[in-house]
Subunit: 339 residues, 2 copies
DNA sequence: CCAGGGTATTGCCACGTTGAAATCAACGAT
DNA sequence: ATCGTTGATTTCAACGTGGCAATACCCTGG
């Protein structure tokens, strides 16, 4: 059996030209019913499948979009990736996933390397690289940024309102009567817009409640894993900050903080209330369950792909950059329950 | 600026033929240093990138491999996918990820649809479809099966020794003096080999300890999420099985079971010891931390890709199917600590 | 000054597909 | 009977690359 058959093989078998077979496959032109039947029969018999490489070469499009995220094993990104893959299938796109592992080099390679030629578009959650650099390197590849601060109209962007969401989360802790509200998750060493925005909202809520933000309450992290949250929480306690509440910039950090709280014999939420960000599944089954800011991930996925589709299928190269804000809501669970 | 430049454009600029540029790019033939310099210069100036579609068409290979897993947001698969993507980059392959969402239809579509033409090979963790069907549908695409029972030499397979691992986990619980050891995670309705194998090991360990396996102790689940584990645990308790230990076939199920135990006021490990399977990161930070069977995921990734590489780059189509067993170890943590 | 042998470079073609335009057949209207 | 029209099918060319074989070039030894 041949490894693969081509239009020509099918055409020979059906007694028509290759072009007619192409028409049957794509429905791009009218084909007589009888001819269509014969061709279809030949297709089935030979098990013909169109060669996508040839099709791409001809069309100048690959039907492949890239998704660049820092880490696939991070629950938030994994959930989001899952939704994006599903949504992409709905548009008959294939998704290639690239992990940047938080490296600026990886983010740049992705854009200047072969990636730029194989993908029709890219959805990226930037980490180390400023948004400006990304959009510059990517051109003319359509790019959608997730979460990052808006790059002044250089590329489409989809995100929750990080400032408002962080503000709400902090205000929620304050509404419980907590006054020493710490924050875990700053990343001053990185040009990471998301962390900056959440810190901004956190401080705004404190100020509105008449509390001056204190550097000692703001714990930086190098990465966003549970272990980083656990370490930051330990440092916070060791430094004698005596927080009665913690707002972690991600659920993973929050779960790490919970872990340390348990170790140190602190009761959650009685001694320390904890709020996270992302609404990953783990938080619904942790002990205690985790209060969190829940971004509408389904909408992030849908909107991001819509943006790409608009650019890929539109002949116009000067579409104004979209800056879409998707809804979020605060989900109150055990870790910040009223005591 | 041109959207993309071709060999021809570079050739024109450097004053050589397209073929010479191709030689410079691929190093496939000797090129005079001076010529190489001029060509490289032109490449840089034009920002030339090879067109992968054309290259694939010519070479008959795409450099893309598929990874089909039930769910991306499942921590185990997300971690594994991350490792596979990293390992694939090392071999300059790109990975497209497909989620079957546990559907037989999705698994079949993947193989018979366009996927089969765009991928050079496929790594699949089968769920609903018997391994035999998968390998039959895939031919002549090289396939590596993860975890599934060996399909009688039809395709390469990489997995831990599920029977032995489940046996060890159960034996560990028995060694703590537990006698009513329940199992959570059977999937009798699916043709899922992995669950069957783990049940086999579980029962073997019981029998060796002189305990007859009881159907009432074996709780089936429909999926492998935390919520399924939580439900199964609740059913187990409601049925009056009064287990003093639980072996869950995955960490997610185990974490769900922990959640229910907390809710019901059971102390872990004092009242019920719990062991999971997979060693996902969550288990290292849960409360209590989770005892689990830790498969060497790095080796699973490396070996699976090695198998694919062997088949893709080998002209021989009759390589015997490999059946590789990767090491695992039992990691004892809080959920089964000695009381 | 030329044959011989290597090195460097080139032209041509095919991979499988599809857009554009040409061809062919059939049919109704003039 | 002829022409125009519509519908169905075909021919031709090109997308960008790399294998193959041919060619142009240079140097050395006779």
């Amino acid at each position: 059996m041949r490894v693969s058959s081509s239009l020509k093989d099918v055409a020979a078998r059906a007694g028509v030209s290759a072009r007619t077979v192409s028409n049957v496959v794509n429905g791009s032109a009218r084909v007589a019913p009888e001819t269509r039947r014969r061709v279809q029969e030949a297709i089935d018999e030979l098990g013909y499948r169109p060669n996508l490489a040839a099709r791409s070469l001809r069309a100048g499009r690959t039907g492949i979009i890239g998704l660049a995220i820092p880490e696939l094993h991070s629950p938030y990104f994994a959930e989001l990736a899952g939704l994006l893959v599903d949504e992409a299938r709905r548009r008959s796109w294939t998704v290639v996933i690239d992990q940047t592992r938080g490296g600026a080099e990886a983010e740049r390679r992705l854009l200047t390397g072969d990636g730029g030629r194989v993908m029709d578009g890219l959805i990226i959650s930037p980490w180390a690289l400023p948004a400006e650099d990304i959009t510059a390197a990517a051109r003319p590849l359509p790019v959608v940024l997730l979460g990052e601060r808006s790059p002044h109209g250089l590329a489409d962007r989809v995100a929750v309102d990080n400032v408002a969401a962080a503000d709400e989360a902090t205000a929620h802790l304050l509404s419980l009567g907590r006054r020493r509200v710490a924050a875990i998750g700053l990343q001053p060493h990185l040009r990471n817009g998301t962390a900056e925005l959440r810190a901004e909202g956190y401080r705004a809520a404190l100020r509105r409640a008449g509390i001056a933000p204190r550097p000692a309450w703001e714990r930086p992290v190098t990465a966003l894993h549970r272990s980083d949250g656990a370490r930051a929480m330990a440092e916070l306690l060791d430094a004698g900050a005596e927080p009665d509440a913690v707002f972690a910039f991600s659920d993973e950090l929050a779960l790490g903080a919970l872990h340390t709280a348990h170790e140190r014999g602190l009761r959650v939420p009685q001694d320390v209330a904890v709020v996270g960000f992302d609404d990953i599944e783990d938080g619904r089954f942790s002990h205690p369950t985790l209060t969190t800011v829940s971004p509408d991930k389904g909408q992030i996925a849908a909107r991001a792909l819509q943006c790409l589709a608009d650019r890929i299928y539109s002949p116009r190269h000067d579409l104004p950059a979209a800056d879409l804000t998707v809804p979020h809501r605060l989900v109150v669970r055990g870790s910040s329950a009223t005591v």
